[in-house]
Amino acid sequence: MTNSPTAIQTFGLSKAFGDVLALRDLDLEVFRGEVFGFLGPNGSGKTTTIRLLLDFIRPTSGRAEILGLDTRKHAFELRRQVGNLPGDFLIYPQLTINAFFRLCSGGRPEGMRRARDLADRFGLDLKRKVGTLSTGNRQKAGLVQALMHDPELVILDEPTSGLDPLVKEEFYGLVDEEKGRGKTIFLSSHVLPEIEQICDRVGIVREGSLIAVEEVEGLKRHKRRRMAITFSGPAEVSVHEWQKAEGVEVLARAGNRVELSIPEGSVAGVLNILAGLPVEDLVFPEASLEKAFMSLYAGTTEEESHDGFPGELS
């Protein structure tokens, strides 16, 4: 391991599968000790990036470093320092969880000790066979194997997929602890609230290209959310009046219903306007990360993606 301040650094990393360019010229820097969220819709290149970093596939051009070491030349050494949870985690169904952890521990007792501690924490029964586990429990076993070596860098592909809310909270707590111990977490996810809760910075990848890297706090400032209001009676509020709340845009008006696009920090202004009005129903979900970022970085307007209130990237 080197003293490089970066946990992950890629230099023009590209990968083509036949004619399909899955990743193009990725220049990404993830610093040590941070929790980095890697976001994008399905097929955007997240998993390709992770597989390149782990040396499962080889770049068409460019290169990557982990902890200051070239991922191809030092693949073996890096495996001691990197924990990995694949997106579609599968392993031999005939093995007990204990035997699976023993396989992953490489005979090192400290690995097994930590695995047992983590398994206790996640409520995993070590005697159960992997094939009998629910999706959530299998995911927990995958998380334990990713963390059991106490790696410097943990790469997690959709880590909370299939986990129930309580275990998700446990996982978020674990990520916090690992971060507190100076470890770096690189995780891909679809879920914006999760990213907001645990990540320091995010990178957005779309159609194989990195379109943005930003701190989560910065992301929140940019983020616009939609609000749908239904009035119980006539409520004549002009576009001009709505716009008194800073940055608010009227997306649609039909009968007693209006839909607004509201930037972060303007919610109070909208609520002030609504205070004297006969509001029957109000829907104000978490913003879709995809839409927020598309409007910010890809030039897609909120109106163009005006098709409901999705909570996750598709």
Partner: protein, 273 residues
Amino acid sequence: MKFALIAVHLRLSMYEILAWAGGLLLYAAAIVWIYPMVSAVEGMGEYLKAMPDQFREMAGVTDPSHALDAQGFFTFEGFLSTEYMGWFPVLLGIYAIMSGAGIVARDAERGALDIILAQPVHRYGLLVTRAITQIGVLGVLTSGSFGTLLVGALLLDEPIGKLNLLYTHAVALGLIVSLFSFATLWSTIFLRTSRAMAVAGLGTVLLYVINVLAPSLGSLGWLEKMSPFAYYESLSLLNTGDVDPLSIIVYLGITLFALGAATQVFERRDLVS
């Protein structure tokens, strides 16, 4: 890590190993058991001589007189070669091809490679560890066959040359391991068990057919030497114990080349199935 890989490989293959071991041992025991009945039947020599050359080639009896005694009855060696040792590398070769074809492809299909190769193990380390373990399994199965036949011969009080029987099994194992290595190479190329098994199986059948038919093809008889089966003469080995050094060179050469190529392919390729 390597010990854990070996333990898991054996654990996951346990039932198929036991099934093949049981089947082979029963077959060997049955052959020993029926020999006294067959050896007393008159006219077996005529029957053997009446067989088409190709059929005798398949059973490893190129010269029927080598399988018969002075009275025209089957010798123990002749019967073993015709009914068992001639087929042994074919039978165990099927298992060798099945296991070789899945050696890394099965894990790629399961998605388990992503977990295993995220641990501190080289790709070639994984492949070589698995291959050596499986060659060990094939060795144990071959030893089981040797032991069963040896005990059977002692029980029947048949004076078979122990070393001859050992050498015959050893050369058969060489052929079986070369078939396993051939299938392993295809496993790394395709990372799909069924495809690797199909190509390795088809190639092996082709080589076997060449071995059987080539001697009858006149000027194309030299083709026989292209088949690894041509270097395994069970009857000659059982009778004389003379191991043709060329057979060792051929089997070792095929094994080293195929496993070396498999390692290179596996080391360099993208792990996507």
